[in-house]
């Protein structure tokens, strides 16, 4: 037993030891190739020493790796390939050393050590990559290149939740999104695998994780409900966490018997779980908001044009650090007129949010504004534009937000914008739109929220009086 645990202890050094052959052997290969050149001839004696040390460390890595693998926890196929390629590295390293030093008197082709060195280089690269995959999980190397984790999450929309299967349609997606990356096919931390009925039932190295009907005794439920700061909390801090609704659904699943093949309608539903189930049908209670910034990257705006605006006191800021899309605010200045707006022309590919509220711009400036192809938010509140100017904005195919509070426009004028596909919110307080026109406007903009403002509060007795002691 002690022997076993000592070997396990030695196995734990594998992640440390493996870096030695990688570094030393690669150094040996480099030295070997360099030493061919006359100017580096002095390093020749170092090559054999380096290769010897590398070969020894490769052997030690193999031994420690074997012991570590005995502990399990790893994906069997990847582990197997890593194991035999690792041993291959050690064997080639020894061979390479032996041939390089010419200890044996048999004859071989003089290019053989060089061929071996190339093979060794390739083999080390692949073995190392497989090792990384074992510890960090599939796709670790490329995860920053691809989309971030959150977006990759699968979301199933359930048309009729009562007909759905509780495990397959509701619970499994949660486990897949939040647990599989460490307890799934590619990695089994704590020897726990949660991607099938059998492996869930088997549990992990600390025993069973699921006690059907008893969520309080189920490690699976206990871990996700621990305080986030606790070490045993799952998923670990920093990883994407299940929502409260998802936790409540898991609780419900376990307490109703943790069935893997029952439909939702067959299970008892209390008042707490019903709204959560209904919410699953629409996926989200609130519609997903559209992106406020285009997703395609854009080139940087010409600095000269930006500086010109800044010198006039106009705020020109990227929408976020590292983005080239710009937000421009002309800040309520009567001094700003149509000529200043012309300065925006060079920024057309980048300008997404524009505030011109309270400035002296007129309809003429709208010709410039109409040529801003990526404009998403536009505030023209309290300006002197009219229906004529508004008509020039028909080309703003990306526009989501339009603020024309306090602008003399009419319902007819606004109709000219009804084909804008992305329009979501229209602020129309204090415009010249007649009350009679609201209905037709609502029909013209079925997808947008029209805010007409003019809210008033009734005067209540409490607004002007105070409660006194002898009331």
């Amino acid at each position: 037993m002690i022997l076993l645990s000592i070997s396990g202890f030695f196995g734990r050094f594998h992640p440390l030891l493996v870096h030695l052959p990688i570094g030393i052997l690669l150094l040996g290969v480099v030295l070997h190739w360099l030493s061919r050149k006359q100017q580096f001839s002095t390093i020749r004696p170092a090559v054999s020493v380096t290769l010897l040390l590398g070969a020894i460390s490769a052997v030690l890595s193999c031994i420690s790796g074997w012991l570590l693998a005995a502990g399990g926890e790893y994906d069997a196929t990847v582990l197997d390939r890593h194991r035999w390629m690792g041993i291959g590295v050690a064997v080639i390293a020894i061979l390479y050393y032996v041939l390089y030093t010419e200890r044996f008197s048999f004859r071989f082709h003089p290019a053989l050590p060089y061929i071996l060195s190339v093979a060794l280089f390739i083999l080390i690269t692949f073995t190392g990559h497989l090792g990384g995959t074992l510890t960090h999980g599939e796709g670790y190397l490329t995860q920053d290149i691809g989309e971030p984790d959150d977006i990759k999450e699968v979301k199933k929309i359930i048309p009729n939740v009562q007909e759905a299967m509780l495990y397959n349609d509701i619970i499994q997606p949660v486990l897949q999104n939040k647990c599989y990356s460490c307890h799934g096919p590619s990695k089994q931390k704590g020897k726990l695998r949660l991607d099938s009925k059998e492996t869930i039932a088997k549990g992990g190295e600390d025993g069973k994780v699921l006690v059907a009907g008893k969520s309080a005794e189920s490690e699976l439920y206990k871990r996700i409900t621990l305080d986030l700061l606790e070490k045993k909390h799952m998923p670990p801090k920093g990883k994407s966490q299940p929502s409260e609704a998802e936790i409540a659904l898991i609780h419900w699943w376990i307490s109703t018997g943790a069935s893997f093949n029952q439909p939702v309608k067959a299970l008892p539903q209390n008042e707490k779980i019903k709204p959560l189930l209904i919410a699953l049908q629409s996926d989200h209670l609130q519609p997903p908001s559209k992106p406020e910034v285009p997703e395609v990257p854009v080139a940087e705006a010409p600095a000269q044009a930006v500086n010109k605006l800044k010198e006039m006191g106009v705020t020109v800021v990227p929408v976020s650090t590292g983005s080239n899309y710009l937000s421009v605010n002309f800040l309520d200045s009567k001094k700003i007129g149509d000529n200043e707006v012309k300065l925006l022309e060079p920024l057309a590919p980048q300008l997404v949010w524009l505030k011109l509220g309270g400035t002296s711009v007129s309809d003429n400036a709208m010709a410039t504004i109409g040529k801003l192809p990526v404009l998403i938010k536009l505030s023209l509140d309290n300006t002197g534009i009219s229906d004529k100017g508004l008509a020039m904005l028909q080309s703003l195919s990306k526009l989501q937000y339009l603020n024309v509070v306090g602008v003399k426009i009419t319902a007819q004028g606004l109709q000219s914008l009804k084909n804008l596909p992305e329009l979501q919110t229209l602020y129309l307080y204090k415009t010249d739109i007649n009350n009679a026109d609201w209905l037709s406007l609502k029909q013209s903009f079925p997808k947008a929220v029209l805010d007409t403002g003019g809210y008033a509060l009734p005067l209540l007795e409490g607004d002007t009086t105070l409660v006194t002691q002898n009331k």
Binding site: Q286, V405, Y429, G453, G462, L466
Partner: protein
């Protein structure tokens, strides 16, 4: 030489002369020593990379224009924040957290299990339970519970997200306010508004980025530290403005000094400061210079921005404002005006919510109702007015106190109280947020049957701060400032964005 130049010259000469008058041989020796020390210290600090933006993900501190507008880390939903703080801690049990079961226990002794191991500010011995002292109804489509103390606000309950289970770990006003606004209960950390103006700067260079307005007769218990800049350059601290008299104290020219002389003086002072900056390289001197410049600009722009008398009559009716007085309503209207003009963070404190039950003014049946009346109309008007101006989408409104109040009636020093009141309670209370990308008509978190502690959806002050920063476009874990060799965060080492309430 113009009069202005002459004046400058005279001021500089005088300053130099004054300085020299105090320099003696001893000073020379002392200065030589501290100078060496300062050099050593300076090199130490430069190792700390004081002003670099390394790892902060935000723009470096630009001492020439510290309030220049900066982009956030990611496109934020909110561009500005109006934070309404009810100093003294309003009673959630009379406003938002309806507990019918507490009514059944009214007048009964508090069970020991709720008292064991707990400390209260004033409750001693065994207090009696106190049922809700207000009538509650479910409001709007969301069915949020709002009491009759807030009849106007009840009509806009569908606009906000309630946080029903906020928990803090401080039960005294000052530390709890500090925790709520600076992320830590002890003095010395920058307030949320300072962090925000450090991160985003201001879009209006004529106005401060962070304005503080107080009402209710007193400043908050934690004093000005709740809007202090802590270890951030002091240019980011909150500027306290008044809604009565001069908006900023001493902003008007002294008697007999005209605008040109004032400008010349400021220029001269700045020149002296610039010289001492070149000598000592202390960035605080640059803050000083930009504050003088800001003060001069504010002389021109603040009186206009802070004047609510130019608002139309129907707006005054809506908010219930009367120009020329200090009131919460006036401050709320001002907050809207400032946000419209590009101020990033407007912090309101309204004092007088500490309903202990010692006097009519601080009891639940009189004082609290009157406080509710004083805020009900203005906050409702604020939400609606921001909405109709298209500003609510990009303005985050936060409402709350520093903690909540106990489900037990206060029994100060174990004695019965003349009025009905509740003691400080850190375990659970209600806050709400609206606009700025927060869900509408939503409620998050739940307290137990008597409103004593959080049952689900517990959030803490650091979570609220993380959420505010998130709405503005900052990752609270990466938005840091290097100080004394370690990166500091508003949320220190905790905090979680309350994603549940983010639309």
């Amino acid at each position: 030489m113009t009069q202005k130049e002459l004046h400058n010259q005279r001021l500089i000469n005088e300053a130099n002369h004054e300085t020299l008058r105090f320099v003696t041989r001893r000073h020379f020796l002392k200065d030589s020593i501290t100078g060496l020390g300062a050099m050593a210290f300076g090199s130490l600090l430069s190792g700390c990379d004081f002003w670099s933006s390394k790892g902060t993900g935000v723009n470096a501190f630009d001492s020439n224009n510290p309030l220049a507008a900066h982009p956030p880390m990611f496109p934020g939903k909110a561009k500005s924040v109006i934070y309404l703080h009810m100093a003294g801690a309003p009673s959630q049990l009379e406003m938002f957290d309806y507990k019918p079961d507490l009514m059944k226990l009214d007048g009964l002794e508090c069970p020991q299990s709720l008292l064991e191991g707990k400390r209260f500010a004033f409750i001693r011995g065994v207090p009696k339970m106190l049922g809700p002292q207000a009538h509650f109804e479910q409001r709007g489509q969301s069915g949020a519970w709002v009491s009759d103390n807030l009849p106007h606000f009840a009509t806009v309950a569908d606009e906000v997200s309630f946080l029903k289970a906020v928990k803090t770990d401080q039960f005294n006003h000052a530390p709890a306010q500090l925790l709520m606004h600076t992320g830590g209960a002890r003095l010395g950390r920058p307030s949320m508004g300072s962090w925000v103006s450090y991160g985003l700067g201001t879009e209006n260079s004529n106005l401060p980025g962070f304005v503080v307005l107080t009402s209710g007769g007193k400043n908050p218990d934690a004093g000005k530290s709740v809007w202090g800049s802590g270890f951030l350059p002091s240019v980011y601290q909150g500027v306290q403005c008044r809604s009565e008299g001069d908006p900023v104290l001493f902003i008007n020219n002294p008697e007999g000094i005209d605008k040109d002389i004032r400008k010349a003086s400021i220029e001269a002072i700045n020149k002296v400061n610039q010289q001492s900056y070149e000598e000592f390289k202390d960035p605080e001197i640059l803050s000083r210079i930009s504050q003088y410049e800001m003060a001069y600009k504010m002389q021109m722009s603040v009186p206009e921005a802070m004047d609510i008398s130019d608002e139309p009559e129907y707006i005054h009716k809506m908010y219930g404002t009367k120009p020329g007085r200090t009131s919460f309503a006036n401050n709320v209207l001002l907050a809207r005006k400032l946000v419209e003009k590009g101020v990033r963070y407007v912090q309101l404190f309204d004092w007088g919510w500490d309903s202990h039950g010692t006097s009519p003014a601080d009891c639940l049946e009189i004082g609290l109702i009157n406080k509710c009346r004083s805020i009900d109309r203005p906050i409702t008007a604020l939400l609606l007015d921001l909405k109709q101006r298209g500003l609510l989408e990009e303005t985050l409104v936060v409402w709350g106190g520093e903690f909540g109040r106990t489900p037990m009636q206060e029994n100060r020093d174990g004695k019965e109280m003349p009025f009905k009141g509740r003691d400080h309670h850190a375990e659970a209370f209600t806050m709400w947020m609206a606009g700025g990308g927060i869900k509408k008509g939503f409620s998050y978190g739940e307290t137990d049957e008597i409103g004593y502690s959080a049952r689900s959806g517990k959030v803490e002050p650091n979570d609220i701060q993380a959420t505010v920063l998130n709405q503005l476009g900052f990752d609270h874990e990466k938005f840091v400032y290097e100080f004394q060799g370690r990166p500091f965060r508003l949320t220190d080492v905790s905090g979680r964005v309350i994603r549940e309430i983010v639309a």
